[in-house]
Symmetry: C2
């Protein structure tokens, strides 16, 4: 496209005179003195055409997902061979990009949405979660403070109340109960850990002074998610003051209040300051459930912040028959769980509730001049920037709201129960084959099992080989953990697309591979 | 729907016998003993129908966006009156949800995508950014380690190389140059600050011991984003050891290397340990540019980690004519900027590059048993979980990759340049009206200006009234900042939909409101 002189922008008395036709559809590439046609980044027709193409692509992906190896079989470095070393200078068509995703990206994905994905914990995708993300991404507002986009803050406070009531959390955690507590949405449990641990740290330091930060101690079990150890270092707790307290088969690998009590007593005797205790409702390794009430009483005795991490298993507590696993949560200062795991909410979404938001705010407030405004100063609104690590934040509440409304409490309970029912079924299958054993009692939708060795010393190697044999087929993906030193296979159920037929087929695969590794 | 006896699940020898017809389409609500039809969360036809409805909704939103007040005019608490106190028990149709979004949510949004949004800095949405998010959300993989989904890690390392080369970063920050450095994608600058500051802290503490953490000092300017002060407390730096060093009109509010040098010298003399220095390329308040090279030399002298925060203005450096603002970056240990601000990438996306990834890993590694795998142990792959705060992570690289390919380097430069050209135009308009003054020289696409008061003491109140008069019309949204105590209006240009006509109309609005507040 060429321009005549009249259409060229000129500067006159210090003011740019730019013909609108240029500014709207063209711009001058100063580097090359070339006139290029500028893409209109939000033009409605393009927006629809291209978004529809991508939707079709995603639906095809779901239709074909069982045809892909669950765990990617690529070798490290494979993608550098497919993709140019430098960004393209000019625009490329969406068709070319989707073709490259098919050819180059999909083979390198491990398919978390495959119905045969039984590794880690699930990361449920769903159409309501997807739609919620589209709306969030479409509006693309940044609600760090109330004034920056009031609905983002207000919907978030409402939807965390909804979720808190679904979990039957004590009123001290629910905004609408007006006892001072409430909730917030984060991207990860890790952020919940950073924010609550920073708050607990500052409460302690307000008493003993910042120069004594090296005296603070954080408690957890040896089954607690490693994130809590990482976070305690991030917030400046001396690494040797993180206590991963021992658990054992005797308590189902749950943390014993007595063990915590003894550890705190010893630390106090040594001049240290117990500060934070993490209780886990459903550990990652074998889904142990710490006794929240017992731990809460110890925490109260020592004036320690009690956090309940229910990242995975919290979802189950929306069903009345599982809610008792959260008993004692009224003694906690904070509790978190991740709808992005098992509750049909696409990544990412973590709920945190606290009894004392002011403790978070004291540690995390961000009071730049450019953030000051009347609403924050006079109207008592929530400014979530002061509840979290980052300033910017996405409109995650919209996603969680759409998910809850589309499924309803009933639909979400159905999803949880169908996962647990399938896990019971799998547990039964394992129990019915005398070559195998379920290593710890099944909790929720996680089954930890192994192939029994003829000689115990060979057990770990035998099961390592079994796991490799299963995963290398690409027909299922499991991971292992160590339970009391024993190499154990984790079978985590709850994928959005997983049906009983996938459980049965995978069990058959496991049995076949057991035949092979036992014969080898 | 009713079930006959044969279709009821039964437990037999410890194994659930569940008719597939039940498990596929039904589930039992144990709470109410009711049989409910279960929504299929990823059923292709539903997925397309509902997603199309939402796409149409979003396109309508963009079409109508100029009709909404830019800054929401709702009162605090408005939304509680519209939304039920509890989650619905049963599924609700998508149409009802979209209707509620129109009626209840949109009035409470401040419209960051409005072409008349000139507040804070921009958060650009674009169709490529939106599409990239759809793909990320559709795959919904969690690539915390290479093995968990290899393509997510590999594409990220390639796309941060692309972006690093677009910024002409030194080879020490580019993976493919094999000097040991490289980049990572985060959600926010704040996370870049946490990770680099934790790394710098641990380098210092490895020399002087954790018990001396209270001696560490972090340096920035009084214009540095308040996030850095917040983060220094998060990572356990004693609050009184954060130094917001003074700047002035004389340096255009840039941080003077001499001032830093003196501060470090004093601290060392007091037995403190200079640890981390933040240089900003384009501050939030008035877009000051710190002299990176001069600050880098001081940082080297004191063995301090130098981070360059180019959150907003980094985008401009993809244009050769602006790259010089990053001169000296070869002396930095890390540099970050946010494509989610001005580079047409929907929230969220922040790039961080470091020379020494092992410093990050030493502070942030997460080595749980369930994360161990052959690739991590033997094949030298990148596990991004060890570069960041959280374990879980989204496939943001896909979004940035789609954005870069759809626009090309040329298209992205065009977008930056059109914003700067419009800012020059606005600067000219302000300069041509003798009642106004541009308070600091325009940098990039931010113009800081004010209405000149007849009596200087009235200046702040006059401009506060002017700002309120402008924003309350709903026809534009600006915010203020304080520059050397002076209340100044910030006009931040660069929105995806902003055209010259919006600048001109808003300037007319500002002039009209100036007439009124001057007359009052």
């Amino acid at each position: 496209m060429s321009l005549n002189k009249k259409q060229t922008p000129i500067k006159k008395n210090g003011i740019w005179i730019i013909p609108l036709t240029i500014l709207l559809t063209l711009s001058i590439d100063m580097g090359s003195n070339r006139i290029v046609e500028m893409m209109q980044p939000l033009q409605p027709d393009d927006f629809l055409t291209q978004s529809h193409a991508v939707l079709d692509f995603i639906v095809d992906y779901y239709k074909n997902i069982e045809n892909y190896p669950v765990q990617s079989q690529v070798e490290p470095g494979y993608l550098r061979k497919c993709i140019p070393d430098n960004a393209p200078y000019s625009s490329e068509p969406i068709e070319a990009i989707l073709q490259d995703i098919s050819n180059d990206i999909i083979p390198g994905l491990t398919h978390w949405q495959s119905p045969n994905f039984f590794a880690y914990f699930q990361a449920n995708a769903s159409n309501p979660g997807f739609i919620g993300e589209m709306l969030c991404t479409g509006f693309n507002v940044v609600g760090f403070s109330w004034i920056a986009s009031p609905a983002t803050t207000e919907l978030e406070s409402i939807v965390v109340d909804w979720m808190g009531k679904m979990l039957k959390l004590p009123s001290a955690f629910i905004f609408s109960e007006n006892e001072g507590g409430g909730g917030v949405l984060y991207g990860s449990t890790c952020e919940a850990a950073v924010c609550t641990m920073a708050a607990a740290r500052d409460i302690a330091l307000n008493k003993i002074g910042w120069d004594n930060i090296s005296k603070l101690v954080v408690y957890a079990s040896d089954q607690t998610h490693s994130t809590f150890q990482k976070v305690s270092k991030i917030v400046g707790i001396k690494p040797s003051n993180f206590r991963p307290l021992p658990t054992s088969d005797a308590t189902g690998f749950a943390l014993s209040p007595n063990v915590v009590h003894m550890a705190m007593k010893d630390d106090v005797a040594s001049g240290l300051v117990p500060t934070y205790l993490c209780a886990t409702m459903g550990t990652t390794g074998c889904c142990a459930v710490d006794p929240i009430e017992g731990l809460g009483l110890v925490a109260k005795e020592y004036g320690v912040w009690l956090h309940v991490d229910a990242a995975y298993a919290g979802s189950a507590c929306i069903c009345p028959e599982f809610r008792h696993y959260l008993d004692g949560v009224e003694l906690a200062d904070s509790v978190s769980f991740n709808p992005h795991k098992w509750l049909l909410t696409n990544m990412d979404c973590c709920c945190l509730w606290v009894k004392s938001p002011s403790s978070l705010q004291d540690s995390l407030s961000n009071n730049a001049v450019f953030l000051s405004n009347n609403a924050s100063e006079t109207k008592g609104v929530i400014d979530y920037k002061d509840w979290q690590v980052a300033l910017s934040r996405r409109f995650r509440a919209l996603k969680l709201w759409v998910v809850i409304r589309r499924f309803g409490v009933a639909g979400l309970r159905d999803h949880v129960r169908s996962g647990i029912m399938m896990a019971e079924h799998f547990e039964g299958l394992v129990g019915a084959d005398p070559r195998f054993e379920v290593v710890v009692p099944r909790r929720f939708s996680l089954v930890c099992f192994r192939l029994k060795p003829k000689v115990e010393a060979d057990g770990n190697e035998l099961n390592r080989k079994l796991l490799e044999a299963i995963n290398s087929t690409g027909r299922a993906f499991l991971i292992h953990t160590l339970i009391g030193g024993m190499y154990v296979l984790r079978f985590a159920i709850g994928g959005t697309l997983t049906e009983l037929r996938h459980i049965i087929a995978t069990w058959k695969l496991i049995q076949e591979k057991a035949d092979l590794v036992e014969a080898a």
